[in-house]
Amino acid sequence: MIPQKALSSSIGSKFLIALTGLSLVLFLVAHLAGNLLFIAGPDAFNHYSHSLISNPLVYGAEAGLLALFVLHIVKTVWMFAANRTARPERYAVRKWARKKNPSSRKTVASTTMILTGSITLLFVITHLVTFKFGPYYETAEGIRDLYRLQLAVFSDPTYVGFYLFCMAVIFFHLWHGISSAAQSFGIDSPHWTPRIIWTARLVTALLAAGFGLLPVFTFALSVN
């Protein structure tokens, strides 16, 4: 089979969506690990961010991330549209089958993936405008003072609220997304599947808690 044709099949598309999605989750883990240095103070945080943005390899990494985002979005939007046409006439009455049989994995999270994904995209754009392309403060050493920028941004409780809302949205997206990716890869066994689902949900909860903690911590710091 021609690889291009295989990757546009229903299974190949889901494989690509899962692969790009999980890669973005790995990015989130690294991103959170770096961001948590904020707690260690301005020097640690600014030196870390300086070493990151002054590294020439960062451009390649950014291009890679952009490619992951674009592929994930293009594939999911295309698939969403195709799935809508697969049922042109809607049901008059529609119920979830969970009551009939609790084996169903359908959740609010799994039914709102396109919505939570769209909000995440808007958030990422806002996030880049606020931080990456935001005001340029300099430290006494002459490197970018992102610590000061973060302090300034999260001193506004409205922005803290917006940020927490977006973290909740991403939490929902990953609640279904990570374990769904395992299924799309074909990873399944009676022993491992329940463990994969719970591990995926734990990782999701830890990521959301970590990313949610930072704006609250920063706000508390700015108030003091």
């Binding site: 089979m1 690889p3 295989a6 099949s9 229903s10 299974i11 190949g12 598309s13 889901k14 494989f15 698939m79 195709a82 799935n83 046409t85 697969a86 049922r87 042109p88 006439e89 809607r90 049901y91 008059a92 009455v93 529609r94 119920k95 979830w96 089958a97 969970r98 009551k99 009939k100 049989n101 609790p102 084996s103 169903s104 994995r105 359908k106 799994s110 039914t111 993936m113 279904h176 374990s179 769904s180 299924q183 799309s184 890869f185 074909g186 990873i187 399944d188 066994s189 009676p190 599947t193």
Partner: protein, 246 residues
């Protein structure tokens, strides 16, 4: 007991349809759901009206002919049961029951509650078989198969091709049906020879029929009268990806 029905009526393929209200009197709680519809139809015929068209054959849950969406759930409220195995005692007196056909682009409505499921036949024709020479059956012990593998293949072989998985899926995907066939054949030594070709051809046919994609929600498994798990879909995904790199 008496029940109120809201039934999808459609005169033919491609025709506009609508929900029509009926009242079913003298319904015995021990009647099957289809027997209740038979009684309603007898009444309609007496009145000179067109009876409600619906599929049924064995009426004991093994043929896969029947399939109605009852109050928003394919095959109705009972776990691991087909429409014909649902009894009226599951409903309360004067309850309103909504009955619709399975909805999918690949399952066009022929009349009322009858849909055309030949898309499934074409998926099977694309690769859901084993090519073996006819002749005397070999001795069963000449092909040892581990008990758990044989059990798993039998579990997947239970699929009766009713299409409830498609009806329940928000994307009208046929992944559970196709994967059950692929698993049933692929797990056994007789099916191994065509394993890669089978998965590629059946998936291509499935996509070509206009079914949607799998969102890994498992609503299909929940409504499947044979309770076939979505681990079959994971296996199909695995087989498909494996076939690509071979």
């Amino acid at each position: 007991m008496t029940v109120k029905l809201r039934v999808w009526r459609q005169t033919g393929p491609g025709q506009p349809g609508r929900m029509v209200d009926y009242v079913a009197h003298n319904v015995h709680p021990d009647m099957s759901f289809l027997e209740m519809l038979d009684v309603v139809n007898e009444d309609l015929i007496r009145k000179g009206e067109d009876p409600i068209a619906f599929d049924s054959d064995c009426r004991e849950g093994i043929c896969g002919s029947c399939g109605l969406v009852i109050d928003g759930i394919p095959h109705g409220p009972d776990k691991g049961a087909t429409t014909c195995q649902v009894h009226m005692r599951r409903f309360t007196n004067s309850e309103t029951i909504t009955i619709e056909p399975f909805r999918a682009r690949a399952f066009p409505v022929l009349k009322d509650l009858v849909v055309d499921r030949t898309a499934f036949d074409r998926i099977i024709a694309a690769g859901g078989y084993v090519s073996v020479n006819v002749g005397g059956a070999p001795d069963a012990n000449s092909l040892p198969i581990a008990k758990d593998v044989a059990d798993q293949a039998m579990d997947s072989a239970q699929c009766i091709g009713c299409g409830a998985c498609v009806a329940a899926c928000k994307n009208a995907a046929a992944h559970l049906f196709t994967s059950a066939k692929i698993t049933h054949l692929g797990l056994l030594p007789q099916g191994e020879a065509e394993r890669s070709r089978r998965v590629i051809r059946m998936v291509a046919q499935m996509d070509g029929e206009g079914f949607g994609s799998c969102s890994n929600e498992g609503e299909c498994e929940a409504v499947c009268p044979k309770e076939i798990p979505i681990s079959n879909i994971a296996r199909m995904n695995r087989d498909f990806l494996r076939a690509l790199i071979r």
